[in-house]
Symmetry: C2
Subunit: 217 residues, 2 copies
């Protein structure tokens, strides 16, 4: 096997790309991403469902997650509903529903619900305001906490705290680790590429001068 | 096959977990994450390498990426170097180097370089100030742009712009998509679980009343 040829691309070359090419390119470079469905409704009980690939773990005590919204994006109803009502759900995507999940990114009319249009099922439980996705195996009920403006490109980071959690009982390990691969959660890259995973290993806590070991089995 | 039992966990139950259990738990819930090595050096040319699982795509024009730093974390030298010098590298992790990458999270003494300690090779090119990881197949040279404080838990979002890119030539598709699976990039979940991927599909741009199709082949 020969060496793989390396392509060098400069800042100017990115800026000179055709718009859609640059969007595909830049979205691919950060690595694999979390991909989830965000369930919301407004105070008139109109439901909304949006696929989001910018979930970011912000803290564990309390458990906080962030996500990014661009100005004028397809997901603007999601952002409006979160700011209006203070609640949303994060629902993991499995292989079985990844096409329906992707379809939620279509620009539907204001009055249309992505739940109805894609055939995914809204689920209400434990008096939580926002709808979960019934087909999702890992469901998180979130309360809005902070809106952080990012001035460099006029985007918004929305931070929320986990209030309710539903996970398959057999995915929760004794040390607190949730085996999301066992729960069939998938990952994405770029704008439109979906991937399932194969676990390589779980590795022991790293210390200087100590060899890392597998902590599975 | 029977139904999988669903476990319901409440906010109070999370807060009552033992600290390390809660950290494993909360880190798992957001889905699969990007996992990369951040290369920096200070103005005395002392090199630093840190594994980071909080890379976030912030924008494409210009191409911006964020990452989160907690106060007093192991990665604090990385943050100090970025703020002191203005430059860093993002290097994707492959299966081949995932144990060395994980080992960089050990709390080494101030004067020690994680490059030397883990056997990963610093690489300098095109007069870029910060070191790349030679073993990495996707390498990004980044210029620091904005420090965004997140007040709810005293963390910091660091945003930078891509200045230089090195990728395997055969991973770049004609539409701008970079096939990071083909480039052997891996993903992670929780604090310590590493996964390779199997692409399910790339899906067409979603429109109302139009069936999604595969855009591969």
């Amino acid at each position: 096997m020969g060496e793989t040829l390396v392509k060098h691309i400069t800042h100017d070359e990115i800026l000179n790309m055709e718009k859609q090419e640059r969007v595909h390119f830049a979205n691919s470079l950060g690595g694999f991403k979390s991909v989830v469905l965000i369930g919301t409704q407004n105070n008139k009980m109109q439901k909304n469902l949006a696929i989001i690939d910018s979930i970011l773990h912000i803290g564990s005590n309390p458990p906080l997650f962030g996500m990014v919204f661009r100005p004028g994006a397809v997901e603007r109803h999601t952002l409006e509903n979160i700011l209006e009502t203070g609640f949303y759900t994060i629902n993991h995507i499995t292989e079985k529903i990844h096409k329906q999940a992707h379809q939620t990114s279509a620009r539907y009319d204001q009055g249309d619900s992505e739940f109805e249009k894609t055939g995914l099922t809204p689920e209400y439980k434990d008096h939580f305001f926002a709808p979960y996705v019934a087909e999702s195996k890992i469901q998180l009920g979130i309360e809005f906490k902070e809106k952080v403006p990012i001035s460099v490109n006029n985007t918004t980071l929305i931070i929320g705290e986990i209030i309710q959690i539903y996970i398959p009982e057999d995915s929760l390990n004794v040390d607190g680790f949730v085996d999301i691969e066992k729960a069939n959660s998938i990952t994405c890259s770029g704008l439109d590429s979906y991937h399932k995973t194969i676990q390589l290993d779980r590795l022991s806590y790293a210390k200087p001068n100590l060899e890392i070991t597998s902590i599975i089995n």
